[in-house]
Amino acid sequence: MTPAAAIPQSNPVLDRSWSDPPGIIGWLSATNHKTVAMRFMLTTFGFFVAGGLLALIIRLQLARPDSKLVGPDFYNQLFTMHGTTMMFLFAVPVMQAVAIYLVPLMIGARGIAFPRMNAFAYWIFLMGGLMLYTAFILDIGPDAGWFSYPPLAGPEYSPGKRVDFWAQLITFTELSGLLEAVILITTIFKLRAPGMTLNRVPLYVWTMLVTSFMVIFAMPSVMLASTALITDRLVGTHFYNPAEGGDVVLWQHLFWFFGHPEVYMIFIPPLCFMSSIIATFSRRPIYGYPVMVLAIIATAFLAFSLWVHHMFATNVPELGKSFFTAASAMIAIPTAAQMFCWIATLATGKLNFRTPMLFALSFFVILLIGGLSGIMLASVSLDLQVHDSFFVVAHLHYVLLGGAVFPLFGAFYYWFPKFTGRLMNETLGRWNFWLMFAGFNIAFFPMHIAGLQGMPRRVYTYPAEMGWGMLNLISSIGAAILAIGILLFIVNVLRSRRSGTPAGADPWAAGTLEWAAASPPAPGNFSIPPVVASRYPLWSEGGVAGSVKGLVDHRREVLVTSVLDAIPNHRATLPESSIWPFISALAVTVLFVASIFTPWAVVWGAVLVTPPLVAWFWPKKAATQRNLQREVKP
C-alpha cells in the first residue's frame, strides 16, 4: 500500500546534480551524505575489527595464569588501544555514521546540512585513527589506559610521546564528533519534509537529535581536560600536578563528566534501532511514542548527573556520593519504561523473527543483565568492592555490547538492503546471531564472578594459586566463539553484497520514509520529496499526503522547514562537491600531529590551515549573482 507519491522514480538531471564527481580528485571531493556515511561506517567497522583483534590477544594472554605470552609493556598498550579504539573510534562515531546515512532519508530530505563540513569531519576522524594506529605499530602506542589518569599519564610517569598520541587522538575525534553533532541537529531541525512535525519524527531521528545535543554538552569537558593534559606534558603547566597546586582528581571529574554521558551517547541511538526493528517486525507502531521520546530526553539529562559513581573509591565527601547513587539508580526508570513499552508492542503485534529481530530481542537478556549489574555498581558500598574489578569489565560489556553492538548488528541486517539493494543471507544471519549471543555470554558472564572473587582489572597476569584460571579460560573460549560470529557477519556482508536476493525499495514493508527511496537510494534520495501526515507515513492511509514541488533539479536544492511544525520556509542551495575539505583536513592533521612534538606547530600550523579554509569558502560568482537576484528587499 505504498502511496503513489512515494514510489521511487529515476530523474537523470537530479541524479547528475547530486552525484559525486568522477575520478580520484572527485573521489576525494565527495560530499554526498550517503558516500561519506558509507566510508564512515566502513572505517568505524574497520576500527571495531582492529579493537576486537586486540581484545583477542588480551584474552589469549589471560587464558591461563602466569602467562608469559605478552609482557606488561605490550599488554598495557593492548588494553589502552582496545578501550580507546572501541570508545573513540568505534562506538560514538559509528552511531553518527549510521545517522548521516539514515537521517536525511528518514526525514524525506535530499541531502544533509553542511555537506562539506560532513566530509571534513570524516577525513579528520580517519586521520586521527590512522595516527593512533601508526603510533601503535611503531610501538609508541599509548599505555596509560583509555582514561589516562594523571599523574600516571602526566609528564613524570609517562615520559616519551605515547600519551601525547592518545591526547591528540581525543582532539581529532572530538572535532569530528562535534561537527557531526552540529550537522545532525541542523539537519533534523531544518530539513524535515513538510508535515513532519516534531510529533511525527521517527523515534530513531529523535534519538540522534538528543544524542547530538549530548555530544555538544559533554565533549567540551574532555576537550578541556585533554588540552590541559597536553599543556602539562608539552609546555610544563601544572593543572594535574599536586606538588604545584594542581589536582589529579580534577582530571577525573572532567573526564567522567564527559565519560559517563558518553556511555549514553553510545547507548541511546541503538534504543531506537530497537524501536525501528521491533515496529517493523511486530507490524505495528511502537506503543507509547510520547513515553519513548520523553524517556530518551530524561536519560540524556540524568546522564550528566552521575559521573561521580566512577569515583566512589576516591575521598570525595560521603554524603555527596549518596546523591550520585540516587541519580544512577533513577536513570534505570526511563530505560525500564522503554523496555516495558517494547514488551507491550511485542505482545500486541504480529511477530516475524528475522535476523534483525533476533539481534534486537537479545537486548532483553543482555542489556537487562547489564542494567541490573549497573544498579549494583551505583551503590556506594557495593561499588567499593566491585569497582575496578572484572565485575566492571563484565558490566560494561553487557551494557555496551547488549545495548549497542547487538542492536547495531541488527540495524546492519535491517538497513543493509537499503545500503546495497540486496538482502543479507538469513541462514548465515542466524548462525551469526547465535554464535555471537552464545560467545558473548560465555565470554563475559564468568567475569562477574572473577571480579567478586577479587580479580582486579587491567592486570597483565595473575598467580595460579588465586584460582581464577578456570573462569578466565572459559572467558577466552567465549571470546573466540564471539569472534567467529563476527567473522560470519563479514562473510555474510561480502557474499550478500554480490549475490544477495535483490531487495526492492521496501523489503520489510516498513513504515518510515527511508523505505520510500530506492535501494540503494538515488544520489538525490527522493526525485519527488514527500509531504508527511503520519508517524509511519508508509503504513497509514494518506501517510504521504502529497509531494514537494518547485525544487529545481539541476542544483543541490533543499527545502528548509520550520523547527516545530516543519512548515516550508525557503529553498536553500547546498554547496557543490569540493576537494578543499580533504585538503583542510590534511592541513589540520599536520598541525595536530606536529604539535605533539613542538608547541610552535600551533603557530605555523595555523598558517598552513588558513589557505585551504579560504579556498573552501571562496564564493562563486554565479551563486552570488543568483542569490542577489533572489534577494527580497524589505
Binding site: 609482557g71 606488561p72 609493556d73 596509560a144 589518569y149 599523574p151 600516571l152 610517569y157 599536586p242 589536582d247 507490524r283 506503543y287 507509547g288 513515553v291 573509591a313 575521598n315 549518596s322 547513587t325 539508580a329 534505570a332 526508570i333 525500564a336 519504561a337 516495558f340 513499552c341 514488551i343 505482545a347 500486541t348 503485534g349 504480529k350 516475524n352 523473527f353 532483553f364 541490573l372 544498579i375 549494583m376 551505583a378 556506594v380 558500598s381 557495593l382 567499593l384 568492592q385 569497582h387 575496578d388 555470554n441 560465555i442 567478586l452 572473587q453 577479587g454 582486579p456 582489572r457 587491567r458 597483565y460 594459586e465 584460582g467 572459559i474 520489510w508 514493508a509 503520519s534 503504513w539
Partner: protein
C-alpha cells in the same frame, strides 16, 4: 537462558570446590572476614535477590509476550489503529510496572544509604593507626604511635590485631593506587597530594590477601600485599619485635654481608634501622626475614629467590625501580647470610 543458568551454577559449584581445596590467604568479596566486608556482603545479597527477581520477572513478561503474540514468517499488513486509539489496558500495566521498578529502586537506594552509614560508623576506640603509602609497585606501612620512639616501618605485609579497629591513612608517593583486600573491606584510592582514610576490623585470625586495584603502570598486576590478623598477644609480640632495631651481624660472613650491603647500591634506597642505611626509596628491610614474600607478593621469601631477585629484579618484575646488582658469589652469599639475620 536455561543454558546460561546451568553454566552459572556449574561455575559456582566449581568455585566452592576450589575454595575448599587449598589453604591460601583469603581474597574474596563473597567470604567476608571483617565487619565492614560483612556489611557490604549483606547488601550484596539483598541487591542480588532483588535484581534476580526483576530479571526473572522482566524476562518472563518478555517471553510470554513473544510466545502469546501471533507469529508469521511473512510480513503481515501493518496495523496502525493504535495511532488513532489509545490502548488503556497496556497503559495501566506499564504504569504499574514502572511504579514497581521505581519502588524497588527506592528500596535499594535506602539499603545502600544505610549500609554506607554503618560503614562510616565503625567504633574506633583504641584503633591501630597505620600510614600506608603506595609506591610503584610496593606498599610502605608505618605504624604510628604517640611515642615517636615506637614508630617503625615495614612493607607489603601489615599485621593487625583481631577484633580491634584499624585506621589506614592512605597516600601515594607517585601515581594513584588503590588498597583493596576484598575479604576485609572495599577499596580506597591512594591519591598523591591527598590523604584518605580506610577503617576496618578483622574478626577472624588469618591471612588476607589484597592487591592494587587502580591501574598504576607497568607492574600494576604484581602489587599485592598481605594483611595478617593476629591474636592480641601475638600482635603485641610482633610489635615489640618490629620496634627493635636490626640485630648486629655476628659471624664474619654476616659482617662481610653488611659491608656489601653498605657499599653496593642496596644502601642507596633501603633502610635498616640500627645501621647507617636510612634511605626511603625502597621498602624498609629492618625485619626483611620476618616477611613471607618478596617484591610485593611476587616471590616467596627464601634464600634462592632472594638471591635471584637481588641479581636481576627485572627478570621477575619488568620495570621495577630496583636495578640489577651484579655481585660475586662470595659477596652474594655473605649478603644473603646477613639479610637472613634481619628477623
Amino acid at each position: 537462558m536455561k543454558l546460561r543458568a546451568t553454566i552459572a551454577a556449574a561455575f559456582l559449584l566449581g568455585l566452592c570446590l576450589c575454595a575448599d581445596a587449598q589453604q591460601l590467604p583469603a581474597h574474596n568479596a563473597l567470604e567476608p572476614a571483617g565487619v565492614q566486608a560483612a556489611e557490604i556482603h549483606q547488601l550484596w545479597r539483598l541487591t542480588l535477590l532483588i535484581c534476580s527477581a526483576v530479571f526473572a520477572a522482566v524476562l518472563a513478561a518478555f517471553l510470554y509476550a513473544i510466545w502469546r503474540a501471533p507469529h508469521s514468517a511473512q510480513q503481515a499488513p501493518a496495523d496502525v489503529s493504535s495511532l488513532a486509539h489509545p490502548e488503556p489496558r497496556l497503559q495501566r500495566r506499564i504504569t504499574l510496572a514502572v511504579l514497581a521498578a521505581a519502588a524497588l529502586l527506592l528500596v535499594l537506594v535506602l539499603a545502600d544509604f544505610l549500609t554506607a552509614r554503618r560503614l562510616a560508623h565503625l567504633p574506633l576506640k583504641d584503633a591501630v593507626q597505620i600510614e600506608v603509602t603506595g609506591h610503584m609497585w610496593w606498599w610502605g606501612a608505618r605504624y604510628l604511635d604517640d611515642d615517636p620512639s615506637k614508630l617503625f616501618d615495614t612493607a607489603n605485609e601489615v599485621h593487625v590485631p583481631v577484633g580491634r579497629p584499624v585506621i589506614l591513612q592512605l597516600s601515594s608517593a607517585d601515581v594513584i593506587h588503590s588498597f583493596w583486600a576484598p575479604s576485609l573491606h572495599g577499596k580506597k584510592d591512594l591519591i598523591p597530594g591527598r590523604t584518605a582514610l580506610l577503617q576496618f576490623r578483622v574478626d577472624k585470625p588469618g591471612l588476607y590477601r589484597g592487591q592494587c586495584a587502580e591501574f598504576c603502570g607497568f607492574e600494576h598486576a604484581l602489587m599485592a600485599f598481605t594483611v595478617i590478623a593476629d591474636a592480641p598477644a601475638q600482635y603485641e609480640a610482633w610489635l615489640a619485635a618490629q620496634r627493635a632495631p636490626a640485630p648486629a651481624p655476628v659471624s664474619a660472613q654476616q659482617q662481610h654481608g653488611q659491608a656489601v650491603f653498605m657499599r653496593s647500591t642496596c644502601a642507596m634506597c633501603h633502610a635498616i634501622s640500627g645501621t647507617d642505611a636510612g634511605a626511603r626509596l625502597g621498602p624498609d628491610l629492618t625485619h626483611l626475614a620476618s616477611r613471607s614474600t618478596l617484591a610485593s607478593g611476587a616471590l616467596p621469601n627464601n634464600r634462592q629467590q632472594l638471591a635471584a631477585w637481588i641479581l636481576d629484579p627485572q627478570r621477575f618484575k619488568k620495570g621495577a625501580n630496583m636495578p640489577a646488582t651484579p655481585l660475586s658469589s662470595a659477596d652474594l652469599d655473605a649478603l644473603l647470610s646477613y639479610l637472613e639475620t634481619l628477623k
